[in-house]
């Protein structure tokens, strides 16, 4: 039983005369605890797919089922609740609230949910340790580096122990050293916390941390790669690179 299932997803954008088929019929499923990388060139529909899965937008056609709920049947407030409790988002621009400290930013989803934060102190401390920011808990975002801010964002995505974590180009705004740290952190989150994660990236080195790589092209899934648990990151990377060469240019 997959934790998330997308069936025959289509998304059409109308831009005046033009219609863009951002997604042209995608079937996709992910099991609990799986770590998937969504790959493809710019404009291939990665972000659009992530948005539909995360309930940020509605498909033109098709259905998304998350933790047993069909998103198309829910109104905006219900979908919002699903997002709040079942999904964690990580963005390219870390999007922290500048007025809140590290700790408060991490706790933000709980705050929004009206939870009593005292009950979650221990969990937040554990999470901060997990992302290596225990010492920075009282800092404001403008006192943190880009890599540190993204780690706060990851902790924030994990704090509700969501069914699935969705990350759109989480390393897109970071240098390679920080990128590696972030991907390792996500990997650990999957391994140690049994988090289900989907990362959108066009960077093969980032994708090499996943268990599975899904390649999109022109709004369709062009190819899927599954890696054995035993496979090293370097091996995964070379497989990915090889696959990318074989996928033809956009038509």
């Amino acid at each position: 039983m997959p934790i998330l299932e997308a069936k025959a997803l289509r998304k059409i954008f109308k831009l005046g005369e033009h219609t863009v088929h951002a997604l042209a019929g995608v079937d996709f499923a992910i099991e609990k605890g799986e770590f998937v990388a969504l790959m493809g060139r710019s404009g291939s529909g990665k972000s659009t797919l992530l948005h539909l899965i995360g309930g940020l937008d509605r498909p033109t056609d098709g259905e998304v089922t998350l933790a047993g709920m069909q998103l198309s049947l829910l109104d905006d407030d219900k979908v919002t609740l699903v997002r709040r409790r079942n999904i964690g988002f990580i963005f390219q621009f870390f999007n922290l609230l500048p007025t809140l400290s590290t700790e408060e930013n991490v706790a933000l989803p709980l705050t929004i949910d009206g939870k009593d934060l005292n009950a979650y102190q221990e969990q937040i401390t554990t999470l901060l340790r997990h992302v290596g920011l225990e010492e920075r808990r009282r800092h404001k975002p403008d006192q943190l580096s880009g890599g540190e801010q993204q780690r706060v964002a990851i902790a924030r995505a994990l704090v509700t122990q969501p069914s699935i974590v969705l990350a759109d180009e989480p390393t897109g705004n970071l240098d390679s050293k920080n990128s590696t740290a972030i991907m390792e952190l996500l990997r650990r989150s999957c391994d140690e916390l049994q988090q289900t994660i989907i990362v959108v990236t066009h960077d093969p080195r980032a994708a090499a941390y996943a268990d599975r790589a899904v390649f999109l092209r022109d709004g369709l899934i062009a190819k899927e790669l599954r890696f054995k648990k035993s496979m090293k990151v370097d091996e995964r990377l070379s497989t990915i690179l090889k696959t990318m060469e074989n996928i033809p240019e956009q038509s």
Partner: protein, 861 residues
């Protein structure tokens, strides 16, 4: 250039709401400045015209030293003429009367000068000499002939027309003996002396006037035309002195201008008030313009960045924004001028109520039009400079990103320092530096403005404090998401400060206006309570003989009647100087049956006080006087009487605000004995408890109303018409406060919209984390609420200061003695409005935030 202008117009049209808001700012400023300018000019012109033209070319005026003693013997005329330097001595007798038929109601107006009689003012003049000093502009018929005995009258044309009086026909007027018929031989225009008594004015030959008003050989006034070579200021001073010397101290020789002095003093107080509103309107306008343009720049950051990447220079960007401002200011000024002229009409009407004096609109001077439009344009440009400069600073790269909150701490620190300095300086000026009047109150007013300015500068540094103070209550109202919102106030601090300042000014204005209104209200209520006791107030435009008391008392349903006589007298101070006072003469026996005195600080039995008063050589003094001169029960006060200076024993202290508290009460007996007056100004009538007040009123009217020219008013009506007057004038100021609040609320709309626009991506992120639309709405509302709280709080603080200073200014410049009462109601109303306005104004931006499409918001970069 033309292309640039077209581009500017296009971009203005593309944002109609913003453009409208900016235009409103300009229109507001220009219209208020212009209308106040016109009003002030018209009022001043009307007052100076009245007092200069009606006294015409007169150089000096001789009156009885004690004005209320009325006339003096005309024999003095020859003595005056014989003084070297006097070219002509022009006699004058004047009387207030009424048309005998029903056509003219015996009206009186309640104004800020007290109760002013309506009716017809008649001057008895020497036709041969009078035209030397006064210009009557004949419109029809002929002027009075040289024969001083003819029963002729010349009336103001408008007055004649209003009362259906025709040239060549006769008119009957009321006189002490009954009535007199006069032939209308000429009509004059309502100019010069024709403006007196709001145009209800006529002239008759001197002897005729003396005859019909039963004042043989009496004069009220002699106007003096100095010889050509004696008209320099020094020469006139010398002439005044030698005249005074010649005719003795029972006469006053004055300059004609001094008559209007008190009036112009009052007017100047009123005008200062209006001018302050002019300044506030400019600030409010500038605020709106600044706000709207800042918003435009934020909204167009990306567009401007793109233009910069295409090679537009900073200066070109600035120029484009400034060009939009100029285009708008031209349109806004044009509308503002039109509106200003209309607004002036309304303001002039209010001024008329305030002064009980007609004020005709003056021709609108071109200079006023140019200066108000000029100020409009300059203010618009100044208010646009900062946004334009910010637009110029947008770098091509920055434009591709969303701008963070670059509130530099240095500016906030500087604001803290300068603000503190302003606050301390103002406090020192207000509390520690005693500055003598007339500058004191002006300086204090400036100090309060300085304090508000300082307060506004302190806002950025203090928002965190406010946030912490209100955290618990915000959380109770809007929950945790509300708290997130109120913490956002620490972000665009200057923008917040500006909006808070606007709210603060609005609240402070409401408070001061309330404080002044309730002070006036209480003052008027209190003196009316004393001034008019009993149930009915019987009043006439012509003197009432004292036999009326018994006649009124005989009317069925009347319980008691008491006469009152108001008299202007002089007090002799210990140093020999004199000071004008009012005397209220009462008949203690009947007075106590109808109404009572409000005794204060007096030891003893009230009945005994009245007995002492009845005994003679005794007075009561008002608490105001007592306080001013440290007078106590048992002290004596010296008054100037017809029988010389007399000492009167003070039997008690009473509360009486008549004549701004400069009043003493004496007995009817002393009035007759020492002032030789034996007529009443009014009768107070007590109706039997089981009688119908209205029926009694009608009965008195039927019996004596017409025969004795009486006006009978119920105490209630009189009170309400006095209070109505207060209401009318304060409503003007309420309108201005209302405008200030609207401006402030537009500021809140703008600020919150800017915040939402700037934080679009962040709001999208919050939505993706699971914040519902309603939670988002609450977050925005909470931030606005905090703006409302700070604005309301500071406005309250400064408003209380301001209202105190305003009241003491009114007291010192207009001669009132208002007591400061904390405007509790005003405090509640203004706080509620501040909070309510902040919430109402945030609804639109909050809806905008709630409607955000999440994916567009997070892709916003």
């Amino acid at each position: 250039m033309i292309q640039n202008i077209l581009l500017a117009i296009r971009s203005l049209i593309a944002r109609p709401l913003r453009t409208l808001l900016t235009t409103f700012g300009i229109v507001l400023g220009v219209a208020v400045i212009l209308s106040i300018n016109i009003t002030n000019r018209s009022t001043l012109a009307a007052i100076t015209r009245l007092f200069s033209e009606s006294s015409g070319r007169t150089n000096l005026v001789v009156t009885n030293a004690d004005l209320t003693l009325g006339g003096f013997d005309e024999g003095i005329l020859y003595r005056i003429s014989s003084v070297a330097g006097v070219d002509a001595a022009v006699p004058l007798i004047q009387s207030q009367t009424l048309l005998a038929d029903d056509s003219q109601r015996n009206e009186f107006n309640v104004s800020f000068f007290g109760i002013v009689p309506g009716g017809l003012l008649v001057y008895g003049i020497d036709p041969a000499k009078d035209t030397l000093v006064r210009d009557y502009k004949l419109e029809a018929g002929t002027f009075l002939t040289e024969d001083p005995n003819e029963f002729h009258i010349v009336l103001v044309r408008e007055f004649a027309e209003e009362n259906n009086l025709q040239l060549g026909k006769s008119v009957t007027i009321r006189t002490p003996a009954g009535s007199a018929r006069l032939k209308i031989i000429g009509l004059i225009s309502r100019e010069g002396p024709g403006q007196l008594n709001n145009g209800a004015f006529g002239v008759v030959p001197l002897d005729t006037a003396q005859k019909i008003f039963e004042r043989p050989n009496e004069l009220d006034q002699v106007d003096i035309l100095a010889a050509e070579e004696n008209r320099s200021p020094q020469e006139l001073d010398a002439l005044k002195a030698s005249l005074q010397d010649r005719i003795g101290v029972q006469y006053s020789v004055i300059f004609p201008a001094t008559q209007g002095k008190r009036v112009s003093q009052m007017v100047s107080g009123y005008q200062t008030g209006l001018n302050i509103f002019s300044i506030i309107a400019i600030f409010a306008g500038a605020f709106l313009i600044y706000n709207a343009f800042s918003m435009t720049v934020i909204e167009r950051t990306r567009e401007i960045g793109m233009l910069r990447t295409l090679g537009m220079t900073r200066w070109q960007v600035m120029k484009q924004i400034l060009l939009e401002a100029v285009t708008l200011s031209i349109a806004g000024s044009a509308i503002g001028i039109g509106l200003g002229i209309l607004l002036a009409r309304g303001l002039i009407r209010v001024t008329e109520v305030f002064l009980a004096q007609d004020v005709s609109d003056v021709a609108i001077p071109a200079s006023a039009l140019i200066s108000s439009a000029g100020i409009g344009m300059i203010v618009t440009l100044l208010a646009t400079i900062i946004p334009a400069w910010q637009a110029g600073r947008i770098s091509p790269l920055e434009a591709l990103r969303i701008r963070g909150n670059s509130d530099d701490t240095i500016a906030i620190q500087r604001g803290l320092r300068i603000g503190t300095a302003f606050m301390l300086g103002s406090l020192i000026v207000i509390f520690l530096l005693p500055i003598p009047e007339p500058f004191g109150s002006r300086v204090n007013n400036m100090a309060v403005l300085g304090m508000m300015f300082g307060g506004a500068l302190l806002i950025p540094a203090s928002v965190g404090l406010w946030e912490r103070l209100t955290r618990a209550s915000v959380r109770r109202m809007y929950g945790r998401e509300g708290q997130l919102g109120s913490r956002n106030i620490e972000r665009s601090r200057w923008r917040t400060a500006l909006t808070v300042a606007a709210l603060m000014i609005g609240v402070a204005m409401i408070l001061s206006i309330r404080a002044v209104t309730i002070a006036f209200d209480r003052d008027i209520r209190s003196w009316i309570d004393v001034y008019i006791g009993g149930d009915l107030f019987v009043f006439s435009s012509i003197p009432m003989r004292n036999d009326l008391q018994a006649k009124l008392a005989a009317v069925p349903g009347v319980d008691a009647v008491t006469p009152i006589r108001y008299l202007d007298i002089k007090r002799v101070k210990p140093d020999g100087e004199t000071e004008p006072l009012a005397l209220t003469a009462v008949d203690p026996a009947s007075y106590s049956q109808v109404t009572s005195f409000a005794f204060t600080d007096s030891v003893g039995d009230p009945a005994d006080f009245l007995a002492q008063l009845a005994g003679g050589d005794t007075i009561f003094v008002s608490s105001v006087l007592a306080e001013k001169y440290g007078l106590k029960q048992g002290d004596t006060l010296t008054l100037k009487t017809r029988r010389g200076e007399r000492k009167f024993k003070i039997a008690a202290i009473v509360v009486d605000y008549y004549n701004r508290g400069m009043v003493v009460q004496g007995s009817w007996r002393d009035l007759k004995r020492y002032f030789q007056v034996n007529d009443a100004s009014a009768y107070l009538v007590q109706v039997e408890s089981d009688a119908d007040e209205t029926a009694v009123q009608q009965q008195i009217d039927k019996l004596y109303g017409k025969r004795r020219n009486l006006t009978i008013q119920s105490n209630q009506t009189l009170k309400s018409s006095a209070l109505n007057l207060i209401g009318q004038t304060s409503s003007l100021f309420d309108v201005l406060a209302f405008i200030a609040m609207i401006v402030a609320s537009l500021g809140v709309v703008n600020t919150m919209t800017m915040n939402v626009l700037e934080r679009t991506r962040e709001l999208g992120m919050l939505r993706s984390l699971g914040m519902t639309r309603w939670q988002m709405t609450k977050m925005i509302l909470a931030e606005a609420l905090l703006i409302g709280v700070i604005g309301g709080g500071l406005g309250l603080l400064f408003g209380l200061f301001q209202s105190r200073v305003v009241i003491s200014t009114v007291n010192s410049t207009a001669g009132y003695d208002l007591t400061y009462i904390i405007p509790t109601q005003g405090i509640i109303v203004s706080l509620v409005i501040a909070l309510f306005v902040s919430q109402l104004a945030a609804i639109l931006p909050a809806a905008r935030a709630a409607r955000l499409r999440i994916i567009e918001a997070i892709q916003f970069e």
